[in-house]
């Protein structure tokens, strides 16, 4: 992104979006609808997960149907620590990062030796394994889930005890994640990942051991997603193994596609649209999954690149018309 990019339509849209998000608590207070901040908080937490998925799927072509497991690992880090009366925020984060990193390292090392159909199914299977592991732990609620009685504790102005504080934590981490993705894509690491996605044989022939880069990306994205999980646990006050099923991972992929896979802001746009659509459609009809599913099928068959791509096309049209 250089200076010329800043005056493009996409950049404008995203800039306005970010400003609105920054002052959102103010806006929801003024509108007298504080619950909207809750909806927004939940959406942005999911957006962080989708940003992390973009790192491996959008930049690296790794279609993981097991990514939601890391949301679960992050949330359970908070839940289980709180169960033992350990509420220190930095401890929660440390547990989340370490456990997700290790799980990703082991499962990634095995999964990334495979390709195509195998890879997708193996990521699915590993997340189901994690799901079953947690379901069978009676102590931590098993099927029924685990109530989280208090939020992660951070000192002073970093506190996330009230909804405003938590919201800014979520927004902060989201912005950090977006920044990280942006820099990574254009840095050496991102170039290797991108190249390997399009032509792995060529990259290896140049001397890149692509497996190592993919594994690193996989672990990093898992850790980023677990941060989303920590925030989710705090926001929800409750965590159940359901969050780790492969169907939840498929939803994350759906959100990414809607926004534009491989773009920087796509994950944010896609998650917003997905959640808003979900909120709206579910009030209209109990069986809203039906039009939702049909919409997804239509979207893919039509072959469009998501919101980000749609904005790009608009730009081109505007430029042609002067």
């Amino acid at each position: 992104m250089n200076l010329r990019a800043l005056i493009r339509l996409r950049a404008l849209v995203y800039a306005v979006l970010l400003i609105l998000l920054a002052i959102a608590p103010l806006l929801t207070d003024l509108a007298g609808k504080p619950f909207m901040l809750d909806v927004l908080s939940r959406t942005l937490v999911l957006a962080i997960a989708v940003v992390s998925l973009n790192l491996i799927l959008g930049f690296g072509g790794m279609v993981s149907l097991g990514h939601a497991a890391y949301l679960g690992i992050g949330a359970y880090s908070v839940g289980i620590a709180s169960y033992y009366d350990l509420y220190q925020g930095w401890l929660h984060i440390a547990i989340a990062l370490t456990s997700s990193g290790l799980f990703a390292l082991v499962t990634g090392a095995i999964s990334l030796r495979t390709r195509g159909v195998y890879f997708i199914m193996i990521t699915m299977a590993f997340s189901q394994m994690a799901y079953f592991a947690l379901v069978s732990l009676e102590a931590y609620g098993a099927d029924d889930g685990l109530v989280i009685y208090g939020r992660s504790e951070f000192p002073g102005w970093l506190s996330m005890q009230d909804s405003r504080g938590l919201y800014y934590w979520i927004l902060g981490i989201l912005l950090a994640a977006l920044l990280f993705n942006w820099r990574l894509l254009n840095a050496r690491f991102g170039r290797v990942l991108f190249g390997a996605m399009h032509n792995d044989a060529r990259m290896q022939a140049l001397g890149f051991s692509t497996y190592r880069y993919r594994l690193a990306a996989y672990v990093i994205s898992a850790m980023m997603c677990s941060l989303a999980g920590v925030l989710f646990g705090n926001f929800n006050g409750f965590i159940s193994p359901d969050i780790m099923t492969w169907t939840r991972s498929a939803e994350l992929i759906f959100m990414l596609i809607v926004g534009g896979v491989g773009s920087i802001f796509g994950p944010l746009a896609g998650t917003l649209v997905f959640v808003l659509l979900e909120e709206w459609l579910s009030t209209l009809w109990t069986y809203w999954h039906l039009p939702f599913g049909l919409l997804l099928i239509a979207l893919v068959l039509a072959g469009k690149g998501g919101i980000d791509d749609w904005l790009k096309r608009l730009e081109r049209v505007r430029r042609r018309n002067g």
């Binding site: 840095a187 050496r188 690491f189 170039r191 290797v192 044989a201 140049l206 001397g207 890149f208 051991s209």
Partner: protein, 250 residues
């Protein structure tokens, strides 16, 4: 006299009953241009693949600069100094020529676990990439997407990327494939310029190019090496005349 740069020792590769590579041994001297010729299906690409590491032989050894590299994978061999260009053009199509070339330079510039600094701001790599683009005559096309240039230019880029790896040896699998007269001539010029300081192992069908460039020839038929030597020696070999060269070129 120095050891040969590349030593192929009793390589074997069989698919079912079919010998793609049949007890093949060959030495490539440092600094020479060595061409491998043979009819279609003789196993030339299979041989290149086994040297580059993308295919494992059933038995035999590949020794490069005195070291046994038979167990090394493609990337490891590339880092050891073996550069390969593919028979079917293999580039990162959604990237520009410059970006493709920078990847080749990047591979030789330390590790790529760098997450922050944009690659476009790495001046040294950029200059190096432009230098190699110039060497293959593509400097003015640097900003174009690899998918947007002609077939011949794509193959030039491939050779350029192989050069940018600063290899000790270049494996070129049919560099002239699919090229017209003009493009072929340009490629021959490019390869001729490399003769001075690089070792080239070349698979080609274009006989004019082969006779112009090669110091030595090897003839591959049915996975077996039936002759090796200077151009004249090979030309006069009766088995070769019978099996391959035919009337028009001999």
């Amino acid at each position: 006299m120095a050891d040969p740069l590349l030593q192929l020792q009793a390589l074997n590769k069989h698919y079912g009953g079919i010998p793609a590579t049949d007890n093949l041994s060959l030495d490539i001297e440092s600094g020479e241009v060595h061409a491998i010729i043979g009819p279609n299906g003789a196993g030339k690409t299979t041989l290149i693949a086994q040297i580059a590491g993308s295919l494992a032989p059933d038995s035999g050894r590949v020794v490069f600069a005195g070291e046994d590299i038979t167990q090394l994978d493609v990337a490891q061999r590339a880092r050891a100094g073996l550069a390969r260009s593919f028979q079917i053009t293999s580039l990162i199509l959604p990237m520009t020529l410059l970006e493709n070339m920078m990847l080749a330079v990047q591979a030789r510039s330390g590790h790529s676990f760098r997450f922050w600094k944009p690659v476009s701001r790495e001046q040294g790599m950029r200059e190096s990439a432009m230098h190699y683009l110039q060497q293959v005559g593509l400097a003015d096309r640097a900003g174009l997407l690899a998918s947007a240039i002609s077939h011949g230019e794509q193959r030039q880029l491939e050779v350029g990327m192989a050069l940018a790896m600063q290899p000790r040896m270049l494996l070129l699998d049919e560099p002239m494939a699919g090229m017209g007269k003009q493009e072929s001539a340009r490629m021959v010029e490019l390869l001729a310029a490399l003769k001075q300081d690089k070792t080239l192992l070349l698979v080609e069908h274009d006989m004019d190019a082969v006779f112009f460039l090669a110091d030595r020839l090897s003839v591959l038929v049915g996975g077996r090496l039936i002759a090796t030597g200077s151009i004249d020696e090979v030309r006069q070999n009766p088995e070769v005349q019978r099996a391959y060269l035919g009337e028009s070129h001999a």
